[in-house]
Amino acid sequence: MSILIDDSTRVIVQGITGRIGSTQTHWMLEYGTKVVGGVTPGKGGSTVEGVPVFDSVKEAVQETGANASVFFVPAAFVLDAFLETIDAGVKLIVVVPEHIPVKDVVKMRSYANEKGVFALGPTTPGILVPGKGKMGIMPASLFAPGRVGIISRSGTLSYEFAGILSESNVGQSTVVGMGADPVVLRNLADILELFQEDEGTDGVIVVGEVGGEQEEKAAGFIARKMTKPVAAYIAGRHSPQGKRMGHAGAIVRGTTGTVDGKQEALRAAGVEVLQSPIHVAEWAKKHNLR
């Protein structure tokens, strides 16, 4: 069992003819993902990795029965492609690209909410269900099937946690990158809810970082609704205050968003706070997670 991706997920790749789009299509197919089509306006009729390319999302959906889309579209065109994808009836969208203007993300989120579309990103590695399939860029070798869910604000840290668990023979049910931008398309609590409801998940790891208030708000949800064990790691303890650490989501604004504040809020909600990623293995063992 898993969240977001299952046997019925039929994926299109937007921006499939680009360098990253085509490479990642290769890896997704190799991992067993049902990539049924691709979209690049103007390249309709060609194929990439054996997958048919269409000029519009509507055509791609009509011809392939796709119900999910992963984006490798240049940042400047993401907003337009996103709205097009929603209008074509796709209900799950993973927005991998970074550097999308916040104004665009605000609009995307508002429209996705209005239309009942589940969207992740921007700046997300995507979703991976070990042994089943993936939408995004997560490197398959680090993951193993199992019953621990991972949600991470950082792409590479999600690999780190999955890698450590896999090494300790603890598998993952689903690994989700929620995106690293100051505004993301779905909040942390929305994804926690899916894991709480998923029968294939016995425990959840939240990988957060300094800045914003996703972890503080999620703590409220965890306290009220979560019955499964939750562990959390917050990166950025040694990051200089007020300096940028690569993306705006990591700016510390006032006292909200500090590592201490986040850890405190999570602890108060019954979450086990890890001081280093390596401790996740002991936590999993303690809760008999596999």
Partner: protein, 379 residues
């Protein structure tokens, strides 16, 4: 990109927000001239891009030319929180009946623009927010609906103000909101927005931070972004397209991904001190990593380098080639530890090893840093 106060004030003035008479000075004689035109007393404000400037001594008053000489000289030779003061803003000293606050930002959690106002503006606004939340009011703007003045009037009425102030303040908020939209600002703020004895308003400070991701389409004349990075290494980082933060320690750090970089820094920081933080982003090539090595090695007295990368979107085998080329060309002697996992990891390890890089193949960064600690002699 954060603008300097004097740059933001110019933009505010263009749309009709009332701002003080003022001038920028890079030298004492310029400050004297500006003050002469404005008339004494004047305020002198260090133009540095750090918060809490006032409490750190960056804002002074001068009532006479002699006083100004002393104060300006002092400011122009000082540093505020490590930033050298290259320019000061000389501006009229307004009589203050009251200090208000207005700020517009994007609320990350709700995903909507938010307008925040307070009747208790000034340097301690954040403390006010915690101690007296009733003096703060805010309103979220629906993205598909937009901002209209009645929303600000409603907001200000919640603070129990008189209509005259509601009307003039609403006007300022509308203009500030237009700036936020046009400049794609993540933060646009006036603190304090001063109420003058005659009831008029004056924006005595101006904060404007433009979304870096939107810079290419903010068509208005914005000052060059690279120039305003004081640290030459950080400026070089911007030039080659990576995020570089200069730190005080002696362990060089290259990571792919900000989260991984922060975690690496946190783990290093338990026993050693990072010299810098370099995050490559998703565009690794051999050439880019060659330049990254060049950049982090500019720090003198580095004891070791830690490279922590994942092969997800990045071709790490290509990156490894760049690192190896740098090592060989520059005959690097200090230990280099690399953790590189993901697509094409075995190939990557082989390339690294060919140049004597210590490759750690375990998943946990902690293990790699243990190795690093051993290599620098455990201190």
């Amino acid at each position: 990109m954060r603008l300097h106060e004097y740059e933001a004030l110019d933009i505010f003035e263009q749309v009709g927000i009332p701002v003080p008479r003022r001038g920028v000075a890079g030298a004492m004689h310029e400050a004297l001239q500006v003050a002469g035109e404005i008339g004494y007393p004047v305020m002198l404000k260090a133009q540095v891009l750090v918060g809490g400037r006032g409490l750190a001594g960056g804002i002074k008053t001068a009532s006479t030319p002699d006083e100004l000489k002393e104060v300006a000289e002092g400011l122009l030779s000082s540093e505020i929180k490590g930033m050298p003061v290259r320019k000061i803003l000389v501006c009229e000293k307004a009589e203050i009946a009251k200090e208000l606050y207005v700020g517009i930002t994007v609320d990350g959690y709700s995903g909507k623009p938010v307008i925040v106002v307070s009747t208790e503006g000034g340097v301690r606004i954040e403390e006010t927010a915690k101690a007296s939340p009733e003096k703060i009011a805010s309103i979220h703007i629906e993205p598909s609906f937009g901002y209209y003045p009645y929303q600000a009037r409603t907001l200000l009425r919640m603070l129990g103000l008189k209509q005259q102030l509601i009307t003039s303040w609403t006007d300022v908020i509308g203009k500030l909101y237009n700036i936020a939209l046009r400049y794609e600002a993540l933060i646009s703020e006036i603190n304090p927005l001063v109420v003058l004895p005659n009831g008029g308003l004056l924006a005595v400070d101006a904060v404007l931070e433009v979304d870096d991701s939107a810079l290419s389409r903010v068509r208005f004349a914005l000052p060059d972004r690279v120039d305003r990075i004081e640290n030459p290494l950080e400026r070089r980082g911007r030039e080659i397209g990576v995020t570089y933060v200069d730190l005080e320690g002696d362990i060089g750090l290259i990571s792919s991904g900000a989260g991984l970089g922060m975690a690496s820094m946190d783990i290093i920081g338990e026993r050693m001190k990072p010299a810098n933080f370099l995050e490559t982003g998703g565009g690794i090539t051999a050439d880019l990593l060659y330049r990254c090595m060049e950049l982090i090695m500019m720090k003198p007295d580095l004891r070791a380098v830690f490279i922590n990368v994942y092969g997800g979107i990045n071709p790490i085998h290509e990156g490894a080639k760049g690192v190896v080329r740098y090592i060989q060309e520059h005959n690097v002697k200090i230990p280099i530890v690399a953790k590189a996992l993901g697509n094409r990891q075995e190939e990557t390890w082989e390339i690294f090893r060919s140049a004597g890089v210590h490759v750690v193949t375990e998943a946990a960064t902690e293990k790699a840093i243990d190795r690093l600690y051993e290599l620098v002699g455990g201190n």
